[in-house]
Symmetry: C2
Subunit: 388 residues, 2 copies
């Protein structure tokens, strides 16, 4: 079977039906995301990241695949729920809510807002609703205004070791493209410039070709737990964002650099003994802080697949293809659950699912379908080229 078909089938015959069947909260609106192995709801709390991400996913499918009214309905319930209950009086998005929308955890970071902005923006495109588009822009503006102090009063650092994090420029580089149709084009290009510079020149280090999660404000490395932290999956995800920007700008240098970084992140992050990509590693080999460091997470492998397919499409590089096959073999033989559908999220180092949930506080209807969609579409282009 063609790769494009593998991904397309998994998306439409397995993953989307799983969420369509199990995640709808028909009483309160929004989505249940805590679904056990079989899809049964085991906890009703609503995590704003995942509400936004699912609303985004169905809006995106509506916009790019087919104008299906059931997808738009699916998106609408999340958008309505977020609009009604998602924000505090300052317009910041909470981290979590009860199933009927009462806030549980305060807006202690701005990632809730990032995923909400993505959702509102795609939904605005889907519906042509300008008000929703305005809302997306407003959330974006609010994110920028909180950029320097994203945790606000919940910041526990004293300031004696100011570090800047990779997560924000990385997510912004994707977010700004998601919001392109509601933003001024100069703002878009300027933000892309800044993000590419931060990601590829500051957090990506020339000597190691690795992406660090935190650096000093002047861009130098910091010798601390945070300063030595490498999250290969995070870097790989960023590399396909960079690849997309490279294609958009026809920037072959950026594409090549992203490709090289994919190779070195995989070299560094791959588990030689059991296969799979580690979740966290200390850059110099010191004991990591995270007890889950050697686990194999679904999103890490999916982001790796997307990065590799995109890199292969752009460069045709043999090494990239070899890595693709290796990661494909690992991911497809370990994560999908043929018995009950969807993908497991959390494997131990040995590759066995040690938590069998299909959705929880952090795993929702996002990484699996987004990656399946991305790989499907990219392989389709590759295969069409080959057939010519």
């Amino acid at each position: 079977m063609k790769y494009s078909k593998t991904y397309k089938n998994a998306l439409f015959d397995d993953v989307l039906p799983f969420w369509e069947t199990h995640s709808l909260d028909t009483e309160n609106g929004g989505y249940f995301t805590c679904l056990d192995r079989k899809g049964r709801v085991y906890d009703e709390d609503k995590f704003v990241w995942l509400q936004g991400r699912q609303a985004w996913l169905f809006s995106m499918l509506y916009n790019t695949v087919e104008k299906r009214s059931d997808w738009l309905e699916m998106a609408k319930t999340g958008i309505d729920f977020l609009e009604k209950y998602g924000r505090d009086t300052q317009g910041n998005f909470y981290f979590s809510l009860t199933c009927d929308g009462r806030p549980l955890v305060q807006p202690y970071n701005i990632f809730s807002d990032c995923f909400a902005a993505m959702a509102f923006s795609q939904y605005a495109r889907a519906t042509g609703n300008q008000e929703v588009g305005n809302m997306a822009r407003l959330i974006y503006t609010n994110i920028l205004s909180r950029k320097e102090t994203p945790k606000g009063s919940y910041e526990k650092s004293t300031g004696n070791r100011p570090l800047k994090g990779f997560a924000l420029p990385m997510i912004l580089s994707n977010l700004v493209l998601e919001l392109e149709h509601v933003l001024d084009s100069k703002e878009v290009e300027k933000t892309i410039d800044i993000c590419v510079d931060e990601v590829m020149r500051v957090f990506l280090r020339e000597d190691s070709n690795l992406i660090y999660e935190y650096v000093n404000p002047d861009g130098s490395l910091n010798n601390s737990f945070e300063g030595r932290l490498i999250n290969p999956g995070h870097g790989l995800e960023a590399m396909w964002f960079m690849m997309d920007i490279g294609v958009r700008r026809n920037d072959l240098g950026l594409i090549q650099k992203a490709k090289q970084t994919i190779l070195s992140l995989l070299d560094f992050g791959w588990d030689q003994q059991y296969g799979g990509i580690f979740y966290f590693k200390d850059a110099v080999g010191h004991p990591p802080q995270q007890l889950e460091h050697d686990q194999k997470l679904w999103w890490v492998h999916l982001e790796a697949l997307v990065a590799l397919v995109k890199a292969y499409e752009q460069t045709g590089c043999d090494k990239i293809w070899q890595w693709y096959e290796k990661v494909h073999e690992y991911a497809w033989s370990h994560f999908p659950d043929p018995e009950n559908g969807e993908w497991f999220g959390y494997l131990n180092r040995q590759g066995e699912p040690h938590i069998t949930l299909k959705g929880g506080k952090w795993k929702g209807c996002f990484h699996v379908p987004r990656a399946l969609y991305q790989c499907w579409k990219t392989f389709e282009r590759i295969e069409n080229k080959e057939n010519k």
Copy 2:
């Protein structure tokens, strides 16, 4: 070899020398706790919990085992460091500091204060220094004043699901005895009453005989990730605190209840497949939130050993002894590192050390030597009785 001897030898020939050799910061005072497998310092940050705990440990040994000046010196460097650098202007203890005492992470909970109070109190007993004793009392008073809002402005919960936590009454039940000589005796007895009631009547549930980490303010169970959380090691540690109180008060009912709880926590927490005690479990078997839930942690097993030996001393119960032998066999064959000394902290479910540090952000000179000391002394009493 007698059990008492096993524990005593490990304490004096292995564990204490490890920390005495490797942890002293002779330049700035205080202790390095980030020690790799061989004892080499791999990170110099100082975590206040662990500074307090190590100063406490050496003061306690000085007070209870032998008036050795090197132990007092060892305690002094931690006490001096904490006194000089540990607190913010409101008298709250930071979470972490640079090696030379600049604050890194704000006082976002009160456990730093709890361990500092324990350290100052034991050191006051060791030195007879009243000023240090006053300081211990002051810290204790501050802890009580922050008891209802322990995270202060760093609290991320909105208040829509107010839960009370097991950690505080549990730690207070031990802390108040640690501070007995600097507190009013009525205050001590009153606090013990409250803590025993909270631990044994509120957090310990009659139906399951399990200890929950969080309950509703009215004492009922809460159906949420937090509300379903069981941490068997935490419960086992609390049970030997209860056992100590039972002995002190000659409360046979409390001793029996603690013994029963030890048995049911072990029944619930034991890994039937690979042996060892799980770190976290969901009370009703839902997928847990903690990715490290199935790991085997050093402190969990050490606290279980202490609880079991004390329960055996008090009750002579066969079932307790069977469990003791089972946990002993697991712990002693998996955690000690005969090659480089001290105990590994973090085993995967299968029982292999997946992080090989001897000390880090959470593991320091505390659980291993405290448990070795407790088991040594308890076995000594048991063996003396048997010889009579």
